[in-house]
C-alpha cells in the first residue's frame, strides 16, 4: 500500500425508514486534505461516525488503510486520529491525565509519553492549562484538547468533524495551520465543515454530499470551475498597492487562457481562466512577471460557494 487511505464501499445508513446515507462510495488515497461539505443532515457526521465505529452501517463497508472498521476496529483505528462531534472529557480529569489515558490506550512508549503530551498541548496553545481540571474549560478550550488528543499518536489518517466548532477566530486560524502542517507530513485529512473559506484555504479536494448521496468528489480547482458558466476557473488575487482599470483590462485580461478579469476594488482582481492546474500555474507565473505587487493568489471562495449552492439547490 502506497499511502494512507479511506474508502466507503456502498455505505448506507437508515434510521427506520429515513435514509441518512445512501450507497456512498468514495475512495481517498494519499497525502491530502479532503473537505467534506453538505448542509445540516446531509450525512457528513453519519459517515464519519461509521468510519470510527460509533455507529454501524446498514449496508456497505468502511475501510481505513484497507481494513474494515467494523470487523477489525482496533487495527483499523490504530492509525486514525479523530474528532467527532466535540467530545466531552471527564470533567474531573486534567488535560495531562486525559491525554495520558489516550496515550496508554494507543500504546505510546512510557518514555515518550510526557514529552509527546506536552508537545501536542503546546501545538494547541494550552500549555498553561495542562494541569487544570477540564470541567472548568470553555467549549473552545475543550475542543483544543480534543484536537491535541487526535494528534497524540501521530496517526496518518485524520477524521475531523467540523474541527473549528466552538473556537474563536484565532483558534480557527491555528487549527487551519495545524491541518496545513499535517498535509506536509504525508497525512490524509478528511474534514467536514460548513465553512467554505476554511475548506478552500486548507483542502486540496472536495466531496459534497446531500440527502445521504455523494454529489461530487474532485479537486478543488475542478469543483470551483463548475461555478463558472463557461466551465472555467476563477482565481482571486490581492495586491500590495492599487491597480488601475487599464492594467486589468489590457495587460491581465490578455494573458494566456484568461477569459476575463475584473477589479472588485483597487487592490483585488478576480480572473476567469480556462484549463486545469497547469494553466493556473502558468497564470501565476505570468502575473508574477507583471510585478503588480501580488501578495496572494487563490481559487475564488465564492466560486466554491456558487458550486455548493448550485449542487445543493439541484437536489432540493
Amino acid at each position: 500500500m502506497s499511502g494512507p487511505s479511506i474508502e466507503a464501499v456502498n455505505l448506507s445508513k437508515r434510521y427506520g425508514s429515513f435514509p441518512a446515507l445512501s450507497n456512498l462510495s468514495l475512495k481517498i488515497e494519499g497525502s491530502k486534505c479532503v473537505g467534506f461539505l453538505g448542509p445540516n443532515g446531509a450525512g457528513k457526521t453519519t459517515t464519519l461516525k461509521i468510519f470510527t465505529d460509533m455507529i454501524r452501517a446498514s449496508e456497505g463497508k468502511a475501510l481505513i488503510n484497507g481494513i474494515d472498521v467494523h470487523l477489525n476496529k482496533k487495527k483499523a483505528l490504530s492509525s486514525v486520529g479523530s474528532l467527532i462531534e466535540s467530545p466531552e472529557i471527564y470533567p474531573s480529569l486534567t488535560p495531562r491525565e486525559a491525554l495520558s489515558m489516550v496515550s496508554d490506550i494507543r500504546g505510546l512508549p512510557r518514555a515518550e509519553k510526557r514529552k509527546k503530551i506536552e508537545e501536542v498541548v503546546s501545538e494547541v496553545k494550552m500549555e498553561e492549562w495542562l494541569d487544570k481540571k477540564v470541567g472548568k474549560f470553555s467549549k473552545g478550550m475543550k475542543q483544543r484538547i480534543n484536537i491535541a488528543a487526535a494528534l497524540l499518536s501521530d496517526p496518518d489518517v485524520f477524521l475531523l468533524d467540523e474541527p473549528t466548532t466552538g473556537l474563536d477566530p484565532r483558534g480557527m486560524a491555528e487549527v487551519r495551520d495545524i491541518v496545513k502542517s499535517l498535509k506536509t507530513r504525508n497525512r490524509l485529512i478528511f474534514m467536514s465543515s460548513h465553512l467554505l473559506n476554511e475548506v478552500q484555504d486548507v483542502c486540496d479536494e472536495v466531496a459534497m454530499i446531500d440527502h445521504g448521496k455523494l454529489l461530487v468528489y474532485d479537486s478543488l480547482s475542478n469543483v470551483t470551475s463548475r461555478a463558472s458558466s463557461d466551465g472555467g476557473n476563477i482565481v482571486e488575487i490581492e495586491l500590495l498597492r492599487d491597480i488601475d482599470e487599464r492594467t486589468v483590462n489590457d495587460d491581465i485580461a490578455s494573458l494566456a487562457n484568461v477569459s476575463s478579469a475584473e477589479r472588485p476594488d483597487p487592490r483585488k482582481i478576480r480572473i476567469h481562466f480556462s484549463g486545469g492546474v497547469q494553466n493556473q500555474e502558468r497564470l501565476l507565473l505570468d502575473l508574477a512577471n507583471l510585478k503588480i505587487g501580488m501578495i496572494s493568489f487563490h481559487p475564488s471562495a465564492s466560486a466554491l460557494e456558487d458550486t455548493y449552492l448550485r449542487l445543493i439547490k439541484d437536489t432540493l
Binding site: 461516525k49 465505529d53 455507529i55 466535540s86 466531552e88 474531573s92 490506550i105 494507543r106 501545538e123 481540571k133
Partner: protein, 294 residues
C-alpha cells in the same frame, strides 16, 4: 504556529497497540481516578462511615448484650449474634448503594455526557471499555466494603476479642459475590438507557423497593419460592450468620392458616447470584456493543 516535528511514517495500519487486557487496565485506572476526583467514592465512604458510626454508638449506648442478645435457649455464640446484628442487617444496603453510585450511570453517562465520544473513537474494543469500567466500579466498591468490614471486625474485637466466627468470613465472601451480581445488574440497566438519571432511578427503585416487594408478594401471597429474584439469593449473607441456618418450611399463621417461609440454601443462593451476574453482565455487554453514538 509551531509545527509538529516531521518523521517518516510506518506502513499504514502497522502500529503496535497494547493488548486488550492492558487497555482494560487503563480504563480501570482512569475510571477509579474519576471516582476519586468526582468525590463519588468519598460520598459513599462517608455514608458507610455514618452507618458504622450509628451502629457503634448504638452498641456502646445500649450494650452489646441488649442490641444483639444471645439467649441460652436459642443462641450458642454471642459473637455470631453480634456479627449477625451488625453485618447481616446492613451490608446488603451498603452493597446496593455501591451498585447505584458506581454502576448506575457508568455506561449511560458515556452517552448522556458525550464522554463516550472521547473514548470510543480510539482503537480499543467496546468490551474493553465495558470490562474496564466494571472493574473500576468493583474495585471502588470493594474498598468501601473492606473499610466497612474492618469497622465491623474492629467492634467485634473490642467486645469479644479475637473470637471472629468463621461464618463471618463466609458472609463476607457471599457479600462480595452479591456485589459482583449487583454491579452486573446495574451495568445492564446502565447499558439499557442513554439517560444517567433514568438508569440510576430504575436501579435504585428495583433494589431498594421493587425486589423486596415482589419477593414478599410472590412468597407470602402466592406461596411460590422466589428463586428468580436476586435479593432472595442475597439472603444467604445474613442467614449464614444465624445460629441455625433457616430452611424452607411450612408454618401455621394467625387464624390457623398454613403457609410456607422460604429461605435459599447456600448452594441455591450462590447459583442465583452467579446466574444473575452472568446473565446481566453478558446482556449489558451485548447492549453496549450494539448501542450507537447517534
Amino acid at each position: 504556529m509551531s509545527k509538529l516535528p516531521g518523521k517518516s511514517l510506518p506502513t499504514p495500519g502497522s502500529r503496535v497497540l497494547p493488548t486488550s487486557v492492558s487497555q482494560v487496565g487503563t480504563i480501570t485506572k482512569y475510571e477509579l481516578l474519576n471516582y476519586f476526583r468526582s468525590r463519588r467514592f468519598f460520598i459513599l465512604l462517608a455514608i458507610g462511615l455514618i452507618i458504622s458510626g450509628l451502629l457503634t454508638a448504638l452498641v456502646a449506648y445500649y450494650g452489646v448484650s441488649n442490641v444483639a442478645p444471645c439467649l441460652p435457649s436459642m443462641c450458642s455464640s454471642p459473637p455470631l449474634a453480634f456479627y449477625s446484628f451488625w453485618w447481616g442487617s446492613s451490608i446488603t444496603f451498603v452493597i446496593v448503594l455501591s451498585g447505584i453510585f458506581f454502576g448506575g450511570d457508568a455506561i449511560s453517562g458515556e452517552f448522556q455526557n458525550k464522554t463516550g465520544y472521547f473514548l470510543v473513537a480510539n482503537p480499543l474494543r467496546r468490551s474493553s471499555i465495558y470490562i474496564g469500567k466494571w472493574l473500576g466500579a468493583l474495585t471502588a466498591s470493594l474498598m468501601v466494603l473492606a473499610i466497612y468490614a474492618a469497622i465491623t471486625v474492629g467492634n467485634g474485637l473490642y467486645y469479644f476479642g479475637a473470637n471472629v466466627p468463621y461464618q463471618f468470613a463466609e458472609s463476607l465472601s457471599f457479600s462480595i459475590l452479591y456485589l459482583i451480581a449487583v454491579l452486573g445488574f446495574t451495568f445492564f440497566f446502565s447499558s439499557l438507557f442513554k439517560s444517567s438519571s433514568m438508569s440510576i432511578l430504575v436501579t435504585a427503585i428495583l433494589f431498594l423497593f421493587a425486589f423486596s416487594l415482589i419477593q414478599l408478594i410472590v412468597s407470602g401471597l402466592a406461596q411460590i419460592e422466589p428463586w428468580f429474584i436476586i435479593t432472595y439469593g442475597s439472603g444467604i449473607i445474613g442467614n449464614v450468620l444465624m445460629d441455625t441456618y433457616p430452611t424452607t418450611q411450612p408454618i401455621r399463621g394467625p387464624g390457623g392458616r398454613d403457609s410456607t417461609t422460604f429461605a435459599a440454601t447456600i448452594p441455591e443462593g450462590i447459583v442465583i447470584l452467579v446466574a444473575y451476574f452472568f446473565a446481566t453482565a453478558i446482556l449489558g455487554l451485548v447492549l453496549f456493543e450494539r448501542k450507537e453514538f447517534t
